[in-house]
């Protein structure tokens, strides 16, 4: 901040009247940042157009992924052999993804929410260290975690083995940090006054929990369920390491196994588009639900957007 004098002589007097010359415009601190906006649009085009093209070619009436041959539902259900609906492996992949998402959400969210409440109120060395472990599970590279779980299920807990059970157990561990972190953040913003008021009015611990805390935590619980569900749909590394055969191979792993080392064909684009639609539907439900639950609170739609994305 030592450059104040130098800066003020340079900046001149932007508030003075007169025709805004080119230099004046340049120096106006409230000028719209045209370059920055242009750059942002370029970035957005770069990030979205390739995916839009991939979605488009899932409707291509031909095998090519670069020459448009007319619109068709061929790769979704019209083709009697190679469409997602009729190819048993593609079909199984969709089912497996949905199954894992439902199982993981149903297990991880209650455990994570209870964990967050307990850890947040029960101050001690055990709770502090397990909170640390939980956050470590959030930042550890997925490959390292996946290797550890692969060895756990093939060496120590051999009865579990590889397959749907192993996938679910690993995905729950990997995703339990979403509800745990989001609910803890919400607990901090709520504060303790509601709980104390309920206790002063003679509510028992259980009553306070059910009638005061759970309703207050509902938006956070909902947001974390949305995040867990959609991150299981998109998960790759864990399920890639822990699947054992075609019946427990979810969509992401199927796309990977078909695509690397060659061209998997437009049915994969169709599968990817189905994944995309699934997560978008979840995101929209999440956004609307979150907005509904937090109505009357401080915060706008942009806050809801970032919360649903886990930021």
């Amino acid at each position: 901040m030592t450059a104040t004098t130098a800066a003020s002589t340079q900046a001149g007097s932007p508030a003075a009247g007169g025709r805004p010359g080119r230099r004046r415009l340049w120096r106006n601190p409230w000028r719209h940042p045209v370059f920055l906006e242009g750059f942002t649009w370029l970035y957005l085009i770069w990030s979205i157009v390739p995916i839009a093209l991939a979605v488009l070619f899932s409707f291509n009436n031909g095998k090519s992924q670069s020459t448009w041959q007319g619109f068709s539902w061929r790769w979704y259900f019209a083709d009697p052999v190679n469409s997602v609906l009729h190819d048993p492996q593609l079909h199984a992949a969709v089912i497996q993804t949905l199954r894992l998402s439902v199982y993981t959400t149903l297990i991880a969210v209650p455990i994570g929410v209870a964990f967050a409440l307990g850890i947040n109120r029960w101050r001690g060395i055990t709770s502090a260290s397990f909170n640390f472990v939980m956050i470590l599970s959030f930042v550890i590279p997925e490959l390292i975690f996946g290797v550890a779980l692969f060895l756990l299920f093939t060496v120590l807990f051999k009865t579990v083995g590889l397959g749907t059970l192993a996938e679910t157990l690993a995905l729950v561990t990997w995703n339990v940090s979403w509800p745990a972190i989001i609910v803890q953040a919400r607990l901090v913003t709520i504060g303790r006054q509601y709980e104390e008021a309920a206790a002063d009015l003679g509510a028992t611990q259980m009553q306070t929990m059910r009638k005061v805390m759970l309703p207050l935590l509902a938006p956070a619980i909902f947001a974390s369920a949305v995040l867990v569900f959609s991150s299981v749909i998109d998960d790759f590394v864990i399920v890639d390491l822990l699947n054992s055969n075609a019946s427990n191979t979810p969509m992401s792993v199927y796309i990977y196994s078909q695509q690397h080392g060659g061209n998997g064909g437009p049915a994969l684009n169709a599968l990817g588009t189905i994944m995309l639609v699934m997560t978008f539907v979840i995101a929209i439900i999440g956004y609307i639900g979150y907005r509904f639950m937090t109505r009357g609170e401080r915060g706008d739609r942009n806050d809801a957007l970032t919360t649903i994305a886990g930021a």
Binding site: L36, W122, P141, A148, L151, G261, M275, L305, A311
Partner: protein, 312 residues
């Protein structure tokens, strides 16, 4: 604990049922994490420091630390350094790819996140939706999109040929470093942008106005106020991309598949498919964890601090 004075102890006793209540709530999560997060790493350790069944070529986990051996570690050491070492070059490549790709992520992501956080105005929600959209799209789908575009008869070659920038189609998917780095940038940038946006959006606007009122131009306001205030955000954003990139093995498999673009993750992933190499895979992933533990702990402390600041 036992030396507490009378009144304090009575108060503690009154709170005891509450403590039990909270502990009971946390218990399922604690047991789950202990069994499925802490125990697995002991298994990795036991296999990494274990032995190999010479007859079947399968690893034997050694549970007692007193009987641990460094045989696997020594085996891995020879794959990293010395002649015929194949993991060494992969590690160098991993570090170089990760460094270039995450810096590119920052250079592209920061201006975009900064614009949306500061200048998007009434169109902020629109920009935010577009910025967050890729976050919701599966990594595999995003890679698939580029595989379509980068094929020899794909749009990238078509456009470049029509602009006479290249005379014949380039085999982008045939093992090019630039393709893998582009894939990493494209794959991980949504996560970074989200962190950058959240951090930049939290910066108090009145501080920037103060800078302006004191006569700083736009560039100087950015350099003297915004940039220093977002140092922490930049570090966390870099970690968010660096940590998973170091364990990536699928981006290069999808976009190249050649051994010339192999990364450390490919060696670890490959080790898992052969029982005889499980020990080496365990050692390699432990070594990676050892290197990353410091940045990981830094990340944990930094996020804890910022959430405490947000609360106060």
């Amino acid at each position: 604990m036992a030396l507490r004075s009378g009144p304090a102890r009575r108060r503690d006793a009154a709170r005891e049922p509450h403590r039990l209540f909270w502990a009971a709530l946390a218990a399922p999560g604690i047991i789950w994490l202990a069994l499925l997060f802490i125990v697995p790493f002991y298994v990795v350790l036991a296999i990494a420091a274990g032995q190999l069944n010479q007859l079947f070529g399968t690893p034997i986990a050694v549970w007692n630390p007193l009987h641990w051996s460094a045989a696997n570690l020594a085996g891995v050491w020879h794959t990293i350094v010395g002649k015929g070492a194949f993991v060494g070059p992969d590690i160098v490549r991993t570090v170089v790819y990760t460094a270039i790709a995450s810096l590119l992520c920052l250079l592209i992501g920061y201006p975009a996140a900064y614009f949306v956080a500061r200048f998007a105005g009434r169109r902020k929600a629109l920009f935010l939706v577009l910025l967050i959209a890729p976050f919701w799209i599966s990594y595999m789908m995003r890679m698939l999109a580029w595989i379509d575009l980068l094929q020899t008869d794909g749009y990238v070659n078509k456009v470049l040929t029509s602009m006479h920038l290249i005379s014949s189609p380039v085999d982008w998917l045939g093992g090019m470093h630039i393709t893998v780095i582009l894939g990493l940038v494209y794959g991980y940038i949504p996560y970074m942008i989200l962190v950058l946006y959240a951090g930049l959006d939290r910066i108090d606007g009145s501080l920037l106005e103060a800078g302006r009122d004191l006569g700083l131009g736009r560039v100087r306001t950015f350099l003297k106020v915004t940039l220093p205030l977002s140092r922490q955000t930049i570090l966390t954003a870099l970690l968010i991309t660096v940590l998973p990139m170091l364990g990536d093995y699928f981006t290069n498999q999808l976009l190249s598949g050649a051994t010339g673009t192999a990364m450390l993750g490919n060696d670890i992933d490959g080790d898992l498919s052969t029982p005889a190499f499980l020990g080496q895979g365990a050692v390699l992933s432990l070594l990676l964890l050892l290197v990353l533990i410091v940045p990981m702990i830094y990340y944990v402390i930094a996020t804890n601090r910022s959430s405490r600041e947000a609360a106060s």
